[in-house]
């Protein structure tokens, strides 16, 4: 894998090419100045440790929040949620949601998780929703 000074680019993570969040994961864990999503060895270790079995719920939900926050502004607003849904559903036309369905879905999500009713989901609200879902810890996992 090279010395500790070498960088891992997004393309070489071949095992996770099929993961729909591959770019976001690389962006979140990368600490390089060029912001190109390349990972050093320590970044890679951080990634594996956050996705491992022994990471706590707080760590996982913290990183999940950062991964879902596509514009890196610290909250999940409507644009972030829309990108999230598009990422998780298919790309073909019949697998996509129409715009009315999308609006309805986003308003459902906000109604359920936005506790202070400010139109966005911040980190504590996200962690509160996650804590009520018992499947999150077992599915937010990458095992080598």
């Amino acid at each position: 894998m090279g010395t500790t000074a070498s960088q891992l680019s997004k393309e070489s993570l071949s095992e996770y090419q099929s993961n729909p969040f591959k770019e976001r994961i690389c962006q979140v864990f990368s600490t390089s100045e060029q912001k190109d999503g390349s990972l050093t060895f320590e970044d890679f270790l951080d990634l594996l440790s956050a996705f491992s079995d022994s990471a706590t719920l707080e760590i996982k939900s913290h990183y999940a929040f950062r991964i879902f926050d596509f514009d890196d502004d610290g909250t999940l607003d409507c644009a972030d949620l829309e990108k999230l849904v598009n990422c998780l559903t298919g790309e073909t036309n019949d697998a996509k949601l129409s715009s009315t369905e999308m609006k309805q879905l986003i308003s459902n999500i906000l109604e359920e998780s936005d506790i202070d009713k400010d139109g966005t989901v911040n980190l504590s609200e996200f962690q509160h929703v996650i804590s009520r879902s018992p499947d999150f810890v077992s599915s937010f996992k990458i095992v080598l």
Binding site: E15, Y16, Q17, S18, N19, P20, F21, F51, A64, L84, V85, L88, T89, G90, A95, K96, L97, E101, Q104, L105, N108, I109, E112, S113, I115, D116, K117, D118, V129, I130, S131, R132, S133, P134, D135, F136, S138, S139, F140, K141, I142, V143
Partner: protein, 574 residues
């Protein structure tokens, strides 16, 4: 292996510099740690296989294998207990002559009927058997209750009540899925599920499905009645005769054959019905299938038990051996049918689905049905606890092989953690309780036969304990055991008081839970109100800041108000 102190002393005695000694200490410590870690890694069974299954099929299918592993650990523990306390003393006493003796299976030590009722040198066989079974059942019960309680707390009480809410679907994207086709399929499935959760069912479909449902329900009852009648008929036909001709032997195989056939065919019909019926959520679909299959298996087991308990002891001597033999045959056939079912059945439907009728598609892995098979075989194990362990290994590997070759992941991903709770609950409540009551009935009411079993010559199995207590009365120094036995275990008041106390505690905890729910509701309301207050104050602040440059005369007063608002705002934010 030396203790740490001795190790440090040994290192200290080496003729080397201090730096090198420190290095040696560090290296040896690391080596011990690594050995310990690699040992614990090898204990984790099937980790590679489970990872690949989780990668291709997702976590809900993985729950089946997790459950299987849990059952296997359970059974290994029970095997060790039984073997250690019952079989080993017998082997030690009798030697190996029983194993190498006559060709009949019923005389081996694995077989209940041949246990001697003598007391071996200081080791009372009757008591050993009785207490081993009792302690084992109690431990099973306690561990099941604990896992049920923990699972229930995690997955039901703390979890969200809305099963199909969009956020839950999005947050539980399975990151461990690595196969490209599987990921694509999951995305499509998720899209379909999201659309379903948004849209309502059309009114006209409701009427048709309700009519279908009534029709299918009546079909179910007809099925159950038919199989009851057939089972009774078959049992009446298969009588035990003393002349051991080949035809008689073949006849005895008829009962297990019919039972396993029913077990195989009728759940397939249920799955077929399930495809036609339309359910609002995937969970309800699984639960309906599960309930029907549970009823089927419970009815089979209860008919068999009733037959054994009521008819067989009247027939004559050695009924324990006969029951044991019937159970063994039943288990063997169950196992054979399971292997046939998983290899040929699913292989055939795979072939049919891909080559002949492509529209049907590859069969889905039906988690519910397979888990129920496991629970059923576990129940049989509680009746006759020896033959299960090898079976578990073989059946699990065959199921996983057929899974990877023949099936595709289920179309709608269920709530994995909640399904795990339901499985454990099912294992406990109908099946374990049923097995426990049958064993208790056997111990308390049935007269052991005069020629076989370790309890021969007694009125019922429980009187072994009576005899022992009677013996203890004569030994001084153990009066306290007799006292406890007479006043606690045999008195009804004790159990009554305990039940009363437990009920009171449950009621108190229930009230506390209700109070906390109300508190949560009020706190949420308070958060919403404070959010509104915050935005109101921010608006006021902005208005006042806009109006300050225009009115110079009232500047001081405005500033005062402004500062007051600002302080209120910051105190609210903190």
């Amino acid at each position: 292996a030396l203790s740490t102190r001795d190790r440090i002393q040994a290192i200290r005695d080496l003729p080397m510099s201090f730096k090198e000694k420190k290095h040696i200490r560090w290296v040896s410590h690391k080596q011990i740690k690594m050995i310990r870690k690699s040992f614990s890694q090898t204990l984790k069974l099937w980790q590679g296989a489970m990872k690949s299954i989780g990668g291709k099929f997702g976590t809900s299918v993985l729950t089946y294998f997790v459950f299987l592993k849990w059952l296997l650990m359970f059974n290994i523990f029970s095997f060790l207990v039984n073997f250690g306390f019952v079989t080993i003393p017998l082997l030690v006493y009798k030697g190996l002559e029983i194993l190498t003796g006559a060709g009949y299976f019923k005389y081996t030590v694995m077989y209940y009927g041949s246990y001697s009722n003598e007391s071996l040198v200081g080791y009372n066989m009757q008591l050993a058997y009785f207490f081993t079974i009792a302690v084992y059942m109690v431990l099973c019960g306690i561990s099941l209750i604990f896992s049920m309680a923990v699972n229930f707390k995690d997955n039901y009480v703390l979890a969200d009540s809305a099963s199909n809410s969009a956020w839950q679907l999005l947050c539980t994207w399975d990151f461990s899925v690595t196969n490209e086709k599987a990921v694509k399929q999951r995305r499509n499935n998720l899209c379909v599920q999201l659309k379903e959760s948004l849209s309502e069912m059309a009114q006209q479909d409701l009427v048709i499905y309700q009519q279908c449902r009534v029709f299918i329900f009546s079909l179910h009852t007809v099925f159950i009645i038919i199989h009851y009648l057939y089972l009774f008929y078959v049992l009446q036909q298969a009588t035990e005769n003393d002349n051991w001709s080949l035809l008689e032997e073949a006849k005895t195989l008829l009962v297990p054959f019919v039972v396993s056939l029913i077990n195989l065919v009728i759940p397939l019909f249920y799955s077929l019905f399930n495809k036609f019926e339309h359910y609002s959520t995937h969970r309800k679909q699984i639960y309906a299938l599960l309930i029907r299959n549970v009823f089927l298996k419970m009815s089979i087991l209860s008919v068999l038990c009733y037959y054994w308990m009521s008819k067989v002891p009247a027939k004559g001597s050695g009924w324990e051996s006969m029951v044991g033999q019937s159970l063994y045959r039943l288990v063997l056939f169950d196992f054979l049918f399971l292997m046939l079912g998983s290899f040929f059945g699913e292989f055939l439907s795979n072939v049919i689905g891909t080559k002949l009728i492509p529209r049907m598609g590859v069969p889905e892995f039906d988690v519910a049905r397979n888990v129920l098979e496991l629970i059923y075989s576990q129940t049989l194990a509680w009746y006759e606890p020896y033959e299960r362990y090898i079976r578990h290994f073989i059946s699990s590997s065959s199921v996983s092989v057929s899974l990877t070759h023949n099936c595709q992941p289920p179309r709608r991903s269920g709530r994995a953690a909640q399904m795990q709770t339901i499985f454990i609950f099912l294992l406990f409540f109908p099946f374990f309780v049923g097995a426990l009551s049958i064993v208790a009935y056997t111990a308390w009411s049935l007269t052991p036969s005069k020629s076989c079993g370790p309890f021969r010559g007694l009125n019922n199995s429980f009187s072994a304990v009576d005899v022992w207590i009677g013996d203890l009365k004569n030994i001084t120094g153990s009066q306290w055991v007799v006292e406890i036995y007479n006043n606690v275990i045999r008195s009804e008041i004790f159990y009554f008081l305990i039940t009363l106390i437990i009920l009171v505690i449950i009621y108190i905890l229930w009230q506390v839970t209700n109070g906390r729910k109300e508190l949560i509701r009020r706190l949420r309301q308070q958060i919403v109100n404070e959010g509104k207050d915050k935005s109101f104050l921010l608006e006021r602040l902005q208005d006042l800041q806009k109006s300050i440059p225009n009115k110079n005369t009232k500047q001081k007063k405005q500033k005062g108000v402004c500062c007051e608002n600002y302080f209120m705002l910051t105190s609210l934010c903190m």
